[in-house]
Symmetry: C2
């Protein structure tokens, strides 16, 4: 059954990516959510509806937790799909690049499936928590020490030293800011960044956490508590065997 | 003569990109310059030597200003080639992506040729200050207002509000940090960022300044003075017709 769901997840995410690329030259309907820099488009909502409809018609007993339209289900209650139809909406609007479709599947709060599509490169990253693949190739990842690495950051947390992130950054080769959690997780899987620190909602980290777990990564609140899978939380995805070292900076 | 030099510049930069990609899996010799996060590799130096040798053998009366090995010539004195063999060396080392080869040509301090190769995508951006091309296609660029745009920043300047950059960033949709001036200029040419603010050496901005000039961009010190083409300076590349608007923030 899990394999059926994994193939389903890969299929609907790839379809969504194709749909978005087909509509790349359309005039977008852009709306502000909370502030002029917090945007949503008609495509975010259409892609969510398409995937949500397919989930509920294929697996009618399952539930959905998704970014748009207040689709919220408790992650611990049964089989829950976690969906971000377009992650990095500002990049999508401004750059038509550096955005992702993300879909995860959890059973009673345990991550079972993670899928991220880098839409413009059309590379699909997928896994079940024990291994991960880029398209058809299994991913192998050797994590380097922080001092030989770059880290992905939320720029507000970086500049205000939230959780000690600025202090930690001085122990690295530098910080990078891309504007899409999905692409940051892709960059972890590609070995381009060592870890990722941000202030995120469940649909931003649900798929990524499953995808990077096989390589010894832990995804948790920056203070070490588990993620709540509701609301926004300051979080990090880091190599668990380097947690002790970064505790001098990250609190 | 200028056309001969433009074709020469495109050729040697493309050759350098091919050379770097061929050696992508080599073990690099990595040395620290000023600090553990200021790195240079044997490939930076080999590529510089290759291009420098070709410049001086083809145009023996010309001069060179280049990043490595203290190759310094006054930009205002005669015909000067400005070379950054690998821009974004840290990205090159850590990511094997997001780095560039950059070559510019100035006559008595006036930019005549700019060439940037995004090495991993193998896209060549080139121009003569009056128009610009991506490979064989002429670039057309419509600059949006800042409030509908992203900006590329040096993270130190951003977090310390150097020159008012943090204040300005609040008027944009957000900041991005890539770690390569060359890729930032590519992102301006691609319409992905509205402007770029950093603390740079001449080889970091010489080619980019020529490439973006046809679209109304000015490249100057953040306080409005002309760039000196020596040492590092806090600079910006911004649409000149929006200079008045940003003067409320950038000083």
């Amino acid at each position: 059954m899990l394999n059926t769901k994994l193939e389903f997840a890969k299929k609907v995410v790839r379809q969504a990516g194709g749909f978005i690329r087909q509509h790349l030259s359309d005039d977008l309907e852009i709306s502000e959510k909370t502030h002029f820099d917090d945007l949503v488009t008609n495509l975010d909502r259409e892609v969510q509806e398409q995937i949500l409809t397919q989930i509920l018609s294929t697996f009618p007993k399952d539930h959905v937790l998704a970014e748009e339209n207040d689709v919220r289900h408790d992650i611990k209650d049964g089989n829950v799909w976690v969906l971000d139809p377009i992650d990095g909406t500002t990049n999508f609007i401004v750059q038509r690049d550096n955005f992702a479709v993300m879909l995860a599947y959890y059973e009673s709060g345990i991550g079972k499936i993670g899928v991220i599509l880098d839409v413009m490169s059309d590379n699909l990253y997928w896994g079940d928590g024990t291994s991960a693949y880029k398209n058809e190739a299994q991913i192998h990842l050797t994590v380097k020490p922080l001092r030989q690495s770059l880290i992905g950051v939320n720029t507000y947390m970086y500049r205000t030293n939230a959780g000690g992130l600025l202090d930690l950054s001085h122990e690295s080769l530098g910080v990078r800011a891309i504007g899409s959690a999905g692409i940051e997780y892709v960059n972890i899987l590609e070995g381009k960044i060592w870890g990722y620190f941000s202030n995120l909602s469940p649909w931003d980290y649900a798929a990524g956490a499953v995808l990077i777990a096989p390589f010894g990564y832990i995804t948790q609140q920056i203070d070490g508590r588990p993620l709540a899978f509701e609301g926004r939380q300051m979080m990090m995805s880091v190599p668990s065997n380097q947690l002790d070292k970064i505790k001098a900076y990250i609190k």
